[in-house]
């Protein structure tokens, strides 16, 4: 049996069901107020319990994403939220904050601790920092330029390595972006938590205003250099990279998209299931042919080019 795992997003129970049917080995999902995604893609505790029970009934794993950087007034809520979810029997908590990692390790010893993409792990020393702090899995930054870097990280840590293999990508390093709250945030009443708090913060709350996806002009002095969606990056499609990732020591392939439609989740999981299985069955002859119908369908969802128009050069 292979130890390579395909990890699928779930923004709803239906999406999780389709992902499991399409061949996901594990599902990740976020509870209310503690994960870095819009509320519509998060689960209430009741929904989460139903999701966990379903995923386990199918013999799959479920990872609960608690990857905000909690503020002072969030800490007690965060602790209570994790304590409540722990009773539901998740297989792992995915965290970003250093305190949150140590909290999970100290209080939930039979649940794995994953360090989120929000930590932007880009070198072996950083991976080692989290490994020594008890991480069972570290998610490697989407920025790494070559596979030698991943191999060096592999050699430095005992924990498993996870990569985002497919999906949208931010302009900034994950967990290192503060543009959203600079753009807009405001005080409001949180009905769910019954408290007054600030809304519209990217780094700590997942309430991103998608500042990097907007239309901009790039100016220097009075010259307009460019215009368009200048910071929007092409989406990541790592289908052909699966062999290199596996040979570099990656254990888990994550598909991005908790806020995407369930049809997207189903199609992308199906595609990567096929690719991983074909590679593992025949590593030497693995190739993604142009006639892979699933690939064509999945790629329709994505932007594969920069959308930039330069007025110079």
């Amino acid at each position: 049996m292979s130890d390579i795992e395909l990890l699928a997003p779930a923004g709803s129970l239906e999406a999780a069901q389709l992902a499991v049917e399409a061949g996901a080995d594990a599902i990740y999902a976020g509870p209310s107020s503690v994960s870095m995604r819009p509320r519509r893609a998060e689960f209430t505790n009741k929904e989460l319990k139903e999701l966990i029970d379903y995923v386990h009934s199918e013999g799959k794993k479920i990872y609960v994403v608690a990857n905000i950087f909690p503020k002072s007034y969030d800490v007690e809520y965060f602790k209570q939220s994790l304590a409540d979810i722990y009773k539901m029997g998740p297989d792992a908590f995915v965290v970003s904050d250093i305190w949150a990692l140590r909290h999970v390790k100290k209080n939930f010893k039979d649940v794995a601790a994953h360090v989120s993409i929000q930590a932007s792990i880009s070198n072996y020393q950083t991976a080692s920092f989290y490994d020594k702090n008890g991480a069972d899995v570290v998610v490697i930054s989407r920025s790494l330029p070559d596979f030698t870097d991943i191999k060096e990280i592999r050699q430095a840590v005992k924990c498993q390595l996870e990569v985002f293999i497919h999906g949208g990508i931010c302009f900034m390093f994950d967990g290192h972006c503060y543009m959203s709250s600079y753009f807009k945030q405001e005080m409001g009443f949180d009905k769910e938590r019954q408290i007054q708090r600030i809304f519209g913060q990217n780094n700590t709350k997942g309430e991103c205003h998608l500042v990097c996806k907007r239309q901009y002009d790039l100016n220097s002095y009075s010259n307009k250099i460019g215009s368009g969606r200048l910071m929007r990056r092409p989406d990541q499609v790592g289908l052909n990279l699966i062999p290199l990732f596996i040979e570099s020591g990656v254990n888990i392939f994550k598909i991005e998209g908790r806020a995407m439609s369930k049809e997207y989740v189903s199609q992308s999981v199906s595609l990567y299931r096929r690719a991983i299985d074909e590679y593992l069955a025949n590593p030497k002859s693995f190739a993604v042919d142009a006639d892979w119908a699933e690939a064509a369908e999945v790629l329709k969802w994505h932007r594969l080019e920069y959308e930039r128009k330069w007025n110079i050069k």
Binding site: F173, H176, K184
Partner: protein, 341 residues
């Protein structure tokens, strides 16, 4: 806990002192003309890019000159280490620290947790848990102190009340009694230090690659980042039709408006921070001196109104109070709104 320890904790937490000014300076040319009398701690370098020409991190002779001069003045010299390091960059940064320690370097600013492990090689090296390690709550601050941080920068994306919780908590700790804490010399004091950003074009994010290189089809560094580039977006769905702007320095976006808490200096003082940080790595010495003088004098009691006009004249895109008041970061209310203490 023994009663005497509890009393000591309360004492440490409540003692107030005047904050010292800390300043970030990118290169030797600027350093030479900065008024050193205004500042007690100097951060040398540039956190966004290792290719930045003239930056202290890649110019050891310049760094040596700066550290030597600062040590003669009896002040503190820190080296800024970059955010989100790659494997191949670790050795360069570590060897820069190794050399600088020999010249008298007091500490480093950590912007990637990788550097906590590196810093432990020099037990007398102070460590700032900097902007990009994301200190958003008191408990995270404590964990970084256990990893070796001697000063913690409360993340400026927080508002006054949240910063105060971190500051009070950090200052109530006794470093050498914390399990896992790196032992520190007694002359550094009992409790860790707190630093608060008070001025500058603060970072809004560190980017995967140099944006300004992507303008060039050959992706060669031509040092375009020395020119002021701005992303400008026409805001909609807001009452004012203001233009939203961010400055690009290639590998990072920064605030276009200059973050300034001078008009909130009374509130700043109640935070009892050890250091007020001027994030001025993009500025020339004349501007650094003007801003430094304003905070220096107002810290001693001068009226900010007399200084804010000069500062506004030097800020081409105006000022902002960031997140201090719990508002959108780019807005500026200045003296029109005060934080309730």
């Amino acid at each position: 806990m023994f009663a005497s320890q509890a009393v000591l904790l309360v004492f440490i937490g409540q003692q107030s002192q005047m904050a010292k000014l800390a300043v970030s300076i990118q290169n030797l040319k600027t350093f030479k003309n900065v008024d050193k009398s205004l500042f007690e701690r100097f951060y040398f370098g540039y956190p966004y890019c290792l290719e930045k020409a003239g930056s202290f991190l890649i110019e050891p002779d310049h760094l040596k000159q700066a550290i030597t001069e600062i040590k003669k003045l009896g002040k503190e010299a820190f080296l800024i280490t970059p955010a989100v390091l790659q494997n191949k960059e670790l050795g360069l940064v570590e060897s820069a620290i190794e050399q600088a320690v020999k010249w008298g370097l007091d500490g480093i600013e950590v912007n990637d947790v990788a550097m906590f492990a590196v810093a432990k090689k020099w037990p007398n090296l102070k460590v700032l848990a900097g902007f990009f390690v994301n200190v958003y709550n008191p408990q995270a601050a404590l964990e970084y102190i256990k990893e070796g941080a001697t000063t913690v920068l409360a993340h400026p994306e927080l508002m006054y009340e949240e910063i105060k919780e971190i500051a009070d908590y950090v200052k109530s700790q006794i470093s050498n009694t914390l399990t896992g804490t790196v032992p520190r010399p007694s002359e550094w004091g009992l409790s860790p230090n707190v630093e608060i950003a008070v001025y500058g074009n603060l970072p809004l994010g560190a980017a995967y690659d140099c944006y300004l290189k992507t303008v060039d089809s050959e992706r060669v560094c031509h040092q375009q980042c020395t020119k002021p580039y701005y992303f400008k977006h026409q805001m909609s769905n807001v009452k004012s039709n203001a233009e939203f702007a961010m400055r690009s320095v290639g590998k990072a976006n920064l605030m276009a408006n200059e973050f300034c808490l001078l008009e909130h200096i009374d509130q700043l003082k109640t935070l009892n921070a050890n250091y007020w940080r001027l994030e001025t790595s993009l500025y020339e010495s004349v501007k650094i001196n003007t801003i430094g003088k304003a905070f220096f004098e107002c810290n001693k009691g001068a009226n900010p109104a007399g200084y804010i006009r000069n500062i506004k004249l030097l800020a081409p895109n105006g000022l902002c109070d960031g997140w201090f008041l719990g508002k959108s970061g780019h807005s500026y209310t200045g003296s029109q709104q005060k934080v309730a203490i």
